[in-house]
Amino acid sequence: MTNITIALIALPMCMGFSIYLLPKLDRYLAIFTALCSLAYGLQVLLNDTDLSIQLLDNFGVQLLVDQQSGYFILTNALVTTAVVFYCWNRGKSAFFYAQAIILHGSVNATFVCQDFISIYVALEVLGIAVFLLISYPRSDRSIWIALRYLFVSNTAMLFYLIGVGLVYQAAHSFAFSGLRVSPPEAIALILMALLVKGGVFVSGLWLPLTHSESETPVSALLSGVVVKAGVFPLIRCALIVPEIDPVLRIFGISTAIFGVVYAVFQKDTKLTLAFSTISQLGFVLAAPVVAGFYALTHGLVKSALFLIAGSLPSRSFKQLQSQPINTSVWIPLLIASLSVSGFPLLAGFGAKMVTFKNLLSWQDIILNIAAIGTTIYFAKFIFIPHTQLPETPETEAKQRGLLPAMVILLGGLILANFFYYQSAYTIDNIVKSLVTIGSGWLAYFVLFKNWEVNLSRNWEKLEHIIGGMTIMLTVMFWFVFAVSIA
């Protein structure tokens, strides 16, 4: 198993470069790599693996594979497979596939690493791969968006390195457990950097623009898996060091509400989805113990939704309302939106219920409000008018490759029910979720359908995002300080 785990990290990197050398085989190699991770992830989940590996000696690389990482790896594998199928006939060059697979490998690496330096390396590789993927169309705008991403993430990672240095000074080791003996400023620096990387709360304000302006398959990858690479180390730390747990819960809740407020008032499909990613990350962080399953369902849904949004005729809701879309696009849109709203029979329901069960009492009410908010803005997607339209070459080009991708993502969503079906499906829970969805839709028709608010997006300027890091750092320091005293 140790060797297989190392292969899990090494294989995508080798494949990434092989794709460059054998450009003819690009798509096949990419699919093969993604399927290998899929097999690995399933194997971890079904066998209940709990494996801790220490490579080299005391200061070497530490890996840990358990249920949590199994879920995350599975998400990564399914999303990558779907994206490769989506791109199959879209004339992407070998360079695109190579970067996508290197990204896949670095995300896998973050999901198994257990020490700060390996995580740092994995996150930096990921940052560079994302930069290249976003700037793939080479338009001015895409280059600027990519540059902005790299800027924010690199600055955050520099703060992270300072934090890691402090941890080493205190614990003489880079393992996560060293956080227990480190000073609050070290914890604050590391947490802040990971929050930025994961796109959580105000430090995640770089995320909406990046995710909505990238190409369709790239946004699907970004929202589906890349943000989780930032969130995963946070969850690991919270499970190892109990003092961090309340801090993360508070940030999770605020993120959930923050994302919902912005998402409800957006008029653009991709922007709504990007803000929804922020809000859903809040749900993931709110209950670290079951974060893996929630991340799985969210990753599948969000990448499906981004791929669908790419095949809609327009990005603005107003235009979509006035002009019916094809039913064959609407049905997957319906399934995905229902799952994320927590409708029974889909895995989103199980994930929501399991998360709610692991909440603390003060979190419960706020997160329920956020859940209703989620159904409100997904009502915008569900109630887009639809008819059976004749196939034209134009719609065919937009929907090319969508079907196999949807089969994988939504099929995964239905099969994922299997993991938690016993604990989630009780009468109480089903009634509760239906009431949530009903009240959300009611609120949508009564209040939000015609309510227009323009929320300022001034905060998304580069200077503000980077300046926001210092504020987050200060807030985080006092949070951690207060918790460590109490």
């Binding site: 200061f59 330096i117 740092y120 390396v121 930096e124 940052g127 560079i128 930069f131 290249l132 700037s135 080479r138 001015d140 705008r141 280059i143 600027w144 968006i145 990519a146 540059l147 790299l150 800027f151 690199n154 600055t155 520099l158 390195l161 300072i162 240095g165 080493y168 000074q169 880079f174 623009l209 302006e213 653009d268 998304e460 300027k461 580069l462 200077e463 980077i466 300046g467 210092t470």
Partner: protein, 102 residues
């Protein structure tokens, strides 16, 4: 940490990138400082006598990775700036941002 202020305060994209480099140099220097807390001698047996005032090799080894990564990120950013400079010759971030946000 002057580099960080540079990132925020400088208007020119090029200057921002250089400020980031200053910041990363600062972080590297900090790691070297951590390494040399116990002594300055190269950690080779027989170098420091009996009192064991060796420099700690671990942070130095680790920061090597960060130097290389920082270097490559720098290179990538400069390529991006070169491309952007064709249409925005002044490279002022406000202008670029105005042209490229919806």
């Amino acid at each position: 940490m002057f580099g960080f202020f540079g990132i925020i305060l400088k208007k020119n994209l090029m200057m921002k990138i250089i400020s980031m480099d200053v910041m990363s140099t600062g972080v590297i220097a900090y790691y070297v400082l951590i390494a040399s807390r116990d002594g300055f001698f190269t950690p080779i047996i027989g170098n420091a006598g009996d009192n064991g005032t060796y420099a700690d090799p671990v942070p130095q080894a680790v920061i090597l990775t960060a130097i290389v990564i920082g270097f490559s990120v720098q290179a990538l950013m400069l390529v991006g700036v070169m491309k952007l400079a064709r249409d925005n010759p002044t490279l002022e971030t406000d202008e670029i941002e105005k042209n490229n946000t919806p």
